[in-house]
């Protein structure tokens, strides 16, 4: 029931890979990492959710907070997610309209470089 976070640079884009379960217990770790990246001047971040097993509203809230933070620097938070289980949470809450969600890391990185 752990959350594992990895930051890599791919083609000049900052990619945050999230593994495990994002809930009330682990979300603070994700929030801290996003705050840290923005503090380092990384305003365009690809968050790869492909290895996320579970995400609840606490996790959504942290992603919304991250999006707000990068947008205030004219940046962008781009998600990679194909699992129906996770996408559903964005759909029900209407947040698919707020986030850019890609179905592959490659496409997300391309978008991040264009922005």
């Amino acid at each position: 029931m752990d959350l594992v976070l990895d930051v890599t640079e791919s083609d000049g884009a900052t990619v945050l890979t999230v593994r495990g379960e994002v809930d009330v217990y682990t979300a603070p770790k994700l929030r801290e990492k996003l705050v840290e990246l923005v503090a380092q001047g990384r305003y365009t971040i690809v968050v790869d959710l492909e290895a996320v097993d579970f995400l609840d509203s606490t996790g959504l809230g942290v992603l919304v907070g991250g999006l707000k933070r990068v947008r205030s620097h004219d940046g962008e938070l781009i998600l990679v997610c194909t699992h129906q289980r996770i996408l559903k949470v964005f759909e029900i809450t209407g947040l698919t309209k707020v986030f850019t969600i890609h179905d592959s890391l490659g496409a997300a990185v391309d978008t991040s470089r264009a922005s």
């Binding site: 609840d56 509203s57 959504l60 999006l67 289980r85 029900i92 809450t93 209407g94 707020v98």
Partner: protein, 160 residues
């Protein structure tokens, strides 16, 4: 709290009101739900998510009253339904007076990182009942599944 008619298959889990135990509650509920062959995998995921939201709220309700408290998760099933109830010892609340969020297209929407839990619960489970109980709040979530029995027996849904 679960009605007598469902008593034969009641499982109770009592956890400390701390975030680190929500994963255990999810594990128990999804394990119980999977052993019920009539519930499809995506509905198990729905129930797991709804349970997680309810436990998170229960835990947060305790933040003000000290975290020596516990949260009770109660599982009951009968032929036609599963019921999961989350009970806390917090101050309680009135779900009908929750603030509404700005629409997602409004840039203001980004100022709201919270308030998604209860809307999620409402859309994920077939039925949800919020009730003040003696010492706190209880949220009961119901999933209909399997052979749907006579729905006239409203008694079975009585909130006791």
């Amino acid at each position: 709290m679960i009605v007598a008619g469902l008593a034969a298959s009641v499982v109770e889990l009592e956890i400390p009101a701390r975030g680190e135990y929500v994963g255990l509650a999810r594990l128990v509920v999804s394990s119980l739900a999977s052993s019920r062959r009539t519930l499809a995998d995506d509905r198990i995921d729905d129930l797991k998510l709804a349970l997680s939201e309810a436990c998170t709220n229960a835990i947060e309700a305790h933040a003000d009253v000290g975290d020596d408290e516990t949260v009770l998760v109660r599982w009951a099933e009968s032929d036609d339904r599963l019921e999961v109830e989350v009970e806390d010892r917090g101050p309680g609340f009135d779900p009908s007076t929750l603030p509404e969020h700005p629409p997602v297209t409004d840039p203001e929407r980004l100022n709201f990182e919270r308030g998604l839990g209860i809307p999620l619960i409402r859309s994920l489970v077939d039925e949800v009942i919020f009730a003040r109980v003696e010492q706190g709040m209880a949220v009961r979530m119901v999933m209909f599944c399997g052979p749907v029995a006579d729905l006239d027996d409203d008694d079975e849904l009585a909130w006791s």
